[in-house]
């Protein structure tokens, strides 16, 4: 039916039309302190249609997949685009791309849909037990979710893509308590693929590790505040790259003059040690996709190379406006929303065997600073160029040595200042835990980097 629909669209005199027909199935479980809080198997399907007419977009969607509803959705999208085209001042145009026909059906070694809810429940129960072995752990909420998504993309330029991917995630939120001190901590394992992922990214092992650290952090003291040197672990470095650079190179912010990186391609904006990529092609990573939601092959994008700004993350519309090559950066959370410009796996590369530093070398000449690990997330304002993010675990560095644990360390700074303050990188990068990025829509992302030293960053602590 979708072929009939795209054929109908091309007869309706529109400049461009694409459709996404998604079918998904998955499950969602939660166990709190040994008891099942929820176990939700679910299934859904729907169609989203996007139409471009004389420089204006119209979009509509439905989860009723009978022909009449599908046709009505197309007609609505056409009518919306036509009426919007009467008032559009800055006409949308799309950069040209080759049409593609392909089928990417990623069959995981162990399809989570073939695994019973009981087995998944058992996994959470095991995580729960091993975490609650620590008497200081007051509460554990473990969660599991998986999904298989089959997406069919068609457009009026002849692109025809069928993509099927699977993901699984297991996570735990812990609350540790000692006297009147309460502390929250979390971990997440998983990626794009099937149940086999847990063999290498073991949620039970990770859960126990999280419990150990949470217990340790109960004795943490409030962190000092002010401008201090910082060493970040790969996970926190990943969040730094995501928040501080990733969002500012999303081209939608560039074309609306909402990013301080507008007009700076070719300019040196970071220390020359810094090379940052966004790469959706890393198999198994949480930010993996083979084609973006405009039907463009996914590709590794070098955003900053040796300190020089090289590229933005683009969709077809912004690529046209900026006169750049489209690079497949459009992603939609689901069929019922339009694709937005999004990151995938954002990574700062290690400095390599020659120039990279060992952890000890990174901290050895810091007299008074912070070593921070993991994260509770962050946020950025690309217009003002400032960012904030939070470490989940932190320690004081005194005279070149990691000493006492610190609680609630939060970091903040200006993108352009901080990029030039990076004065030491480890040899290799590692990917952090799977993450979700919210920008009106939630999409899975990965990020990572090497151990990283920042000469000076604003630390907000409670001391």
């Amino acid at each position: 039916m979708e072929y009939k629909l795209i054929e109908l669209a091309s007869k309706m005199g529109v400049d461009y039309c694409d459709l996404r027909l998604d079918k998904g199935e998955g499950s969602d479980l939660e166990v709190k302190n040994g008891e099942v809080k929820k176990a939700v198997p679910g299934k859904g399907a729907g169609l989203g249609v996007r139409v471009l007419y004389k420089g204006a977009w119209g979009f509509s969607c439905t989860n009723r997949l009978e022909w009449d509803s599908m046709k009505a959705v197309l007609e609505t999208a056409v009518a919306l685009a036509k009426s919007a085209s009467n008032v559009v001042l800055e006409k949308v145009q799309l950069a040209e791309v080759k049409s593609v026909q392909d089928k990417v059906i990623k069959k995981p070694a162990e399809n989570p849909l073939d695994i019973s809810l009981e087995t998944k429940h058992q996994l959470l129960t095991d995580m729960d037990k091993s975490i609650r072995d620590y008497p200081e752990i007051l509460t554990v909420t473990t969660g599991y979710s998986d999904g298989v998504k089959h997406s069919h993309f068609l457009n009026t330029e002849g692109t025809d893509l069928e993509v099927s991917t699977t993901y699984i995630v297991a996570q735990a939120n812990l609350i540790a308590k000692k006297d009147s001190t309460l502390l929250g901590f979390r971990m997440r394992a998983g990626g794009v693929g099937g149940y086999e992922i847990f063999k290498t990214d073991d949620p039970i092992e990770k859960g126990v590790e999280a419990a150990k650290v949470a217990v340790q952090m109960l004795d943490a003291k409030a962190s000092p505040s002010g401008r201090l040197p910082l060493v970040a672990d790969p996970e926190l470095t990943g969040v730094f790259v995501h928040e501080a650079i990733g969002h500012a190179v999303e081209a939608d912010h560039i074309v609306t003059h909402e990013s301080i990186l507008e007009g700076r391609i070719g300019e040196k904006i970071a220390d020359e040690k810094v090379t940052i990529i966004d790469d959706p092609t890393i198999e198994g990573s949480f930010g993996y996709y083979p084609y973006d939601d405009e039907g463009i092959p996914a590709q590794r994008k070098v955003l900053i190379e040796n300190g020089v700004l090289k590229n933005y993350i683009l969709n077809r519309e912004t690529a046209y406006k900026l006169n750049m090559e489209p690079n497949g950066g459009a992603r939609a959370e689901s069929y019922n929303v339009k694709p937005l410009i999004r990151m995938s796996n954002t990574v700062i590369l290690g400095a390599g065997e020659q120039k990279g530093l060992e952890f000890e070398e990174l901290i050895e000449d810091i007299k008074h600073g912070i070593y921070a690990k993991g994260t509770r997330g962050g946020e950025v304002n690309p217009t003002r160029g400032s960012f904030q993010f939070n470490a989940q675990e932190a320690y004081l560095i005194e005279n070149g040595e990691v000493t006492k644990p610190l609680r609630d360390v939060s970091l903040s700074g200006f993108i352009l200042e901080t990029l030039n303050q990076i004065d030491g990188l480890g040899k290799n990068h590692q990917m952090g835990s799977p993450g979700y990025c919210g920008k009106g829509q939630m999409v899975p992302v990965g990020d990572g980097g090497p151990f990283t030293r920042i000469n000076e960053v604003m630390i907000g602590g409670g001391e």
């Binding site: 099942v36 809080k37 929820k38 679910g42 299934k43 859904g44 399907a45 729907g46 204006a56 977009w57 119209g58 979009f59 509509s60 969607c61 989860n63 999208a77 919306l80 009426s83 919007a84 009467n86 008032v87 559009v88 001042l89 949308v92 809810l117 429940h121 007051l138 609350i175 001190t181 309460l182 929250g184 505040s225 002010g226 074309v255 609306t256 003059h257 909402e258 301080i260 019922n336 509770r376 997330g377 962050g378 946020e379 950025v380 304002n381 217009t383 003002r384 400032s386 960012f387 904030q388 993010f389 939070n390 609630d408 360390v409 939060s410 200006f414 919210g438 604003m458 907000g460 409670g462």
Partner: protein
């Protein structure tokens, strides 16, 4: 009224059928939650409309009880009802045993009639009306300054219908309309300086929004925030705009008053009932019955009547919030706080089981106009927006956030814009330092939860500011 009654009846009929089928398939009890909504939106980018959308959503959430165990699943198509119910019954086999009963028409309480949740004028709006409205929005911002760039924003309107049917004989449903507009603006005067930035948003159930005011406010804020100055950190008196204070409440104080964490000793409020937990003239309510409230509705997502719950009264912690299951578990009365929303979701949906969620929080304290609120502040800041509230430690209430848009308060008056600062502290403790609120009252949607927070600008003493 009347326009949507037919559609509501269709949902109720579908719900009755599903409940019957659930019982036939072996459920002891069942409740069926159905929603149907239509939304139209017009998006603005770079001073021009360029995208318009009309979307519909409908689905069914099916909860079954079997031997005291709960099962749940959902679907969108009616033909999948039977297989979905079977899945829900399978799940019930290993899920937690809960001692509770679904509400009957009597135990659900008298459903309040709430005015101003529905406006036929919104129902009749076509996309063209949205296009016309966006012109007004754009013009009003452009008139403020010739260099203003309207980076984004738009208009959205629509309606939603909710129905709930259970095997205890309860049948309830309602519909409401909504309209909202937002605008973001940027202005760059000097290449070397940071851009000025403005934002404004407003939502209503009634077709009563002042587009001119939204456009003008967004543009004026951008102009005002140009050429920020550096300030000294320290412990300062901070006046939080409703946008920023509501975010801090959302991720700290509010989830700490939910029954489950409180009774399990996981909340800072666990042993604080009847004790002072804020300044003595501060009160906090959950009240989804207020006419015209964007967080108001006659029932919760389990079919219980909406009611006002006093959480903090004159500084004293009075009550906590409960859905049906947690109320039963801890021997309390439910507060009509059972809401079905997935993590990060800001509205109810059929994918999720009910859980305790604050619905429409009101903060009250000594209130004056804004000028009087700041009149005796010799050296402080007015924090318009913050980033990173979601990274606060939800358990302890400790936070450390960045404010990108803020202004000096000097000798009792609003002064120059400031460069970003960090604010940190502990929210439950800062509740004791609230010294007043301005009458610039707003209904603010939650960032990541279906909770509306109603408040004015809040003055707090001795907040730690790092620069």
């Amino acid at each position: 009224m009347g326009e949507l009654d037919d559609e509501l009846n269709v949902l109720l009929e579908r719900g009755r059928k599903a409940v019957k089928l659930a019982v036939k398939l072996g459920a002891d009890e069942a409740d069926v939650y159905l929603i149907s909504d239509i939304a139209t939106s017009i998006e603005i980018e770079n001073g021009s409309v360029n995208f318009s959308e009309k979307s519909t959503d409908n689905g069914i959430g099916l909860r079954v009880l079997k031997d005291g165990h709960v099962g749940f699943s959902y679907c969108t198509a009616e033909q999948e009802l039977e297989s979905t119910l079977k899945k829900a019954l399978t799940v019930a086999k290993f899920s937690k045993k809960i001692e509770f009963n679904l509400p009957t028409p009597e135990s659900a309480g008298k459903i309040p009639k709430i005015d101003k949740l529905f406006d036929k004028r919104i129902l009749d709006l076509e996309a063209q009306a949205g296009l016309d409205m966006s012109k007004v929005l754009l013009q009003s911002a452009e008139e403020v300054h010739e260099d203003i760039n309207i980076s984004g924003g738009g208009i959205g309107f629509g309606y939603d219908i909710t129905a709930l049917v259970n095997s205890a004989g309860l049948e309830a449903g309602y519909y409401g309309t909504g309209i909202g507009a937002s605008l973001s603006t940027v202005i760059q005067e000097d290449e070397d300086d940071v851009a000025g930035q403005g934002f404004e948003a407003f939502g209503s159930n009634m077709h009563e929004i002042d587009l001119n005011k939204i456009g003008r406010t967004a543009a004026e804020l951008a102009v005002k925030s140009l050429k920020p100055v550096s300030i000294e950190g320290g412990e300062l008196t901070v006046v939080f705009h409703p946008f920023s204070f509501s975010s801090l409440l959302e991720f700290t104080v509010i989830p700490s008053i939910y029954g489950e964490p409180v009774h399990k000793g996981e909340s800072v409020y666990s042993d604080k009932k009847d004790q002072m937990v804020s300044a003595e003239n501060v009160s906090l309510y959950d009240d989804p019955t207020v006419p015209g409230g964007i967080g108001s509705a006659p029932i919760d997502d389990e079919g219980l009547s909406s009611r006002r719950t006093v959480l903090i009264e004159s500084g004293v912690l009075k009550n906590f919030l409960y859905d049906i299951a947690t109320a039963a578990e801890f021997g309390q009365e439910p507060t009509g706080s059972g809401i079905r929303a997935e993590r990060w979701d800001t509205s109810s949906d059929y994918h999720a089981l009910p859980d305790t969620v604050a619905r429409s929080i009101y903060l009250e304290t000594k209130t004056t106009n804004f000028d009087d609120l700041i009149a005796d502040i010799s050296d402080g800041i007015f924090v318009y927006s913050i980033m990173g509230a979601h990274t606060a430690n939800m358990v302890s209430g400790d936070f450390s956030v960045n404010s990108p848009t803020l202004f000096q308060i000097k000798n009792g008056e609003l002064g120059k814009p400031c460069k970003p600062v960090m604010l940190s502290g502990n929210m439950p403790e800062l509740m004791h330092s609230i010294t007043g609120m301005a009458d610039d009252f707003r209904m603010v949607d939650g960032d990541f939860h279906p909770t509306v927070i109603n408040l004015g600008s809040v003055r707090v003493e001795k907040v730690k500011v790092t620069t």
